[in-house]
């Protein structure tokens, strides 16, 4: 187990380096002059030069890349260009609001979609299955923005069921503010999740061992509960687990519409303000968190299912 852990850890170092390389290439090589983008079109040459010096953009590229790697290792990304906040603290403060929206939404979605997927796949081919398939494709075909606007306008503005937007740092109040975004987030993901679960359960039903179980005279209900259920949980759990790293990112649209001060909303602000250092740091940090979370979920997975091994990946 420890050998696996260490191997997996070493394996993720080149990936982290790759992410740094891609982000650096994007932000420092491909793009136009970031200093120019930040100060706007009408800035004086001295002003641009000052910003370039502040960001270290006047250094040779290799030095810039070295600085960037140092930033990653020391986790010190400097200050936001617009608000002058320390970026590390900004991201740290943003993670909690994001998680308090994404974690409840994640668990509710997983619970509902697995339950509904089970029921629907049991009644496969009958009207309840057909009806719900149509319904869930309808749900997932609507644009996310439409859900948000409808929810805010009808449920919050007209019916006063929820606050229109806002956030509270205290706990009982926070639930009040988070209820509607969580509901929308669940609705947004429910359709595709249920469809995936239904299909993977039905795939399991078509396996040979199920035919054997039926052939030996087992009642359909027990075939389903004893055999299909257990085996179909493998793709289901995998599907749920691979979503975990995305929890940190949250939802850009939901956070910005509901004024939740999380990572997603910060991304929107950074884009709107052309806050180059924040955007670069954010992309880096979220990707690194993503890699680390994937690492841990892989290891957890390995603990649960010993058949998985590093060699069989991909």
């Amino acid at each position: 187990m420890w050998a696996y852990f260490i191997r997996r850890l070493i394996y993720s170092i080149p990936i982290m380096f790759g992410v740094a390389l891609v982000v650096f290439t994007l932000f420092n090589l491909v793009g136009g002059d970031p200093a120019q983008m930040m100060v706007g079109k009408h800035a004086t040459a001295e002003r641009i030069a000052a910003v370039r010096a502040e960001l270290g953009l006047d250094q040779p590229l290799i030095v810039q890349f070295g600085d960037y790697l140092k930033q990653i290792v020391t986790f010190d990304f400097g200050k936001s260009y617009t608000t002058r906040e320390v970026i590390r603290e900004k991201i740290w403060n943003g993670i909690w609001p994001t998680l308090s929206l994404s974690i409840p939404a994640f668990f509710i979605t997983a619970f509902l979609s697995i339950t509904i997927g089970l029921v629907v796949s049991y009644y496969r081919g009958r009207w309840i299955d057909r009806f719900s398939l149509v319904l869930f494709v309808l749900l997932m075909s609507l644009p996310g923005l439409a859900y948000i606007l409808f929810g805010q306008y009808v449920l919050a503005h007209q019916l006063h069921l929820f606050p229109i937007s806002g956030y509270s740092s205290e706990w009982p109040e926070r639930i009040n503010y988070l209820a509607l975004p969580v509901l929308i987030s669940v609705l947004l993901n429910l359709g595709s999740d249920i469809r995936f679960f239904r299909n993977s359960m039905i795939e399991e039903i078509n396996q040979d061992y199920v035919r054997t179980a039926r052939a030996k005279g087992l009642e359909e209900k027990w075939v389903y509960l004893k055999h299909v259920l257990k085996n179909s949980m493998i793709p289901v759990i995998t599907y749920v687990v691979i979503q975990i790293p995305y929890l940190v990112l949250g939802s850009i649209l939901l956070e910005s519409f509901f004024s939740i001060p999380g990572i997603g909303g910060m991304t929107v602000d950074a884009v709107n303000n052309s806050d180059f250092p924040v955007l670069k740091a954010m992309t880096t940090v979220i990707s690194l968190i993503y890699i680390i979370t994937t690492l841990f979920t892989d290891i957890l997975y390995r603990l649960v299912d010993p058949r998985m091994s590093l060699g069989k990946r991909g």
Binding site: G18, V30, P143, L149, Y246, V271, N272
Partner: protein
Amino acid sequence: MAKRRGLWGQAVQRILDSKVALGCILMILFFLVVAFSAQFLGFAESWNVPIAGPYVEPGFGRGFKFLLGTDFLGRSVIYKVIQGTRVALSVGIVTAFLSAPIGIFFGCVAGYFGGWIDDLIVWFITTLSSIPSILLLIAISYTLGRGMTAVYIALTATSWISLARILRGEVLKHKRREYLVAAESLGATHANRIFKHLLPNVSHQVILSMSFMIEFAIRSEVLLSYLGLGVQDLPSWGKMIDDAKGELSAGRWWQLTGATCAMFLLMFAINVLGDYLRDALDPKAGI
């Protein structure tokens, strides 16, 4: 045994047999026709011309251009929806046709050659997919500057990855099959073996991936437009829905409804057709 048809022949037959799938194809064709004919019927430019005062309510009485009312500048909303269709479809189609060859190339080469080439490509794929696609999308379109070309490049850069990964897996499965060994013993070159023998056997994955790419591209265009990183001087569904967030509280629902319905119908058709395609191309189904 009935007359044997290939995978594709069977798939086409299954699609044509299903009224729902045919309906979806017709719907997608309808959108394509609308988008292309807009150019010839003169809608292409007239979306930007005010036809009446701001916020005229929709109605049937005053002709086609008032069908969905007007926006805050008095421009016809239905013309904007049609223009938005062109933007959405071009983003979807261009992305799919740009990323498919890239995905095919890297996926096939990695799976086929293995060794350090495979390691390198897998490293690259894993690296890119470690950056959440939304952030990668934003980062690319931000650094390339706003506009259509940046959107194409950003979407292509994020879309080819999953196809390459899927194809690599498929190619690994096929690599040791007899037909490839036979081709090798007949002296077929690497390129010949990959593109003439291997690719046709995994091509259904390409078609499926492309339908996902189109859907992902159209959805992402809406998000990028909302962030102000999307298409700049043309109306797009994302921009229209975004505009509508202020209009809704004043009871002006038509711009939101127009763009949402258009996007919904197209997404629905693509989703359902994608499902039918997957079933139709599944060799295990319907024996």
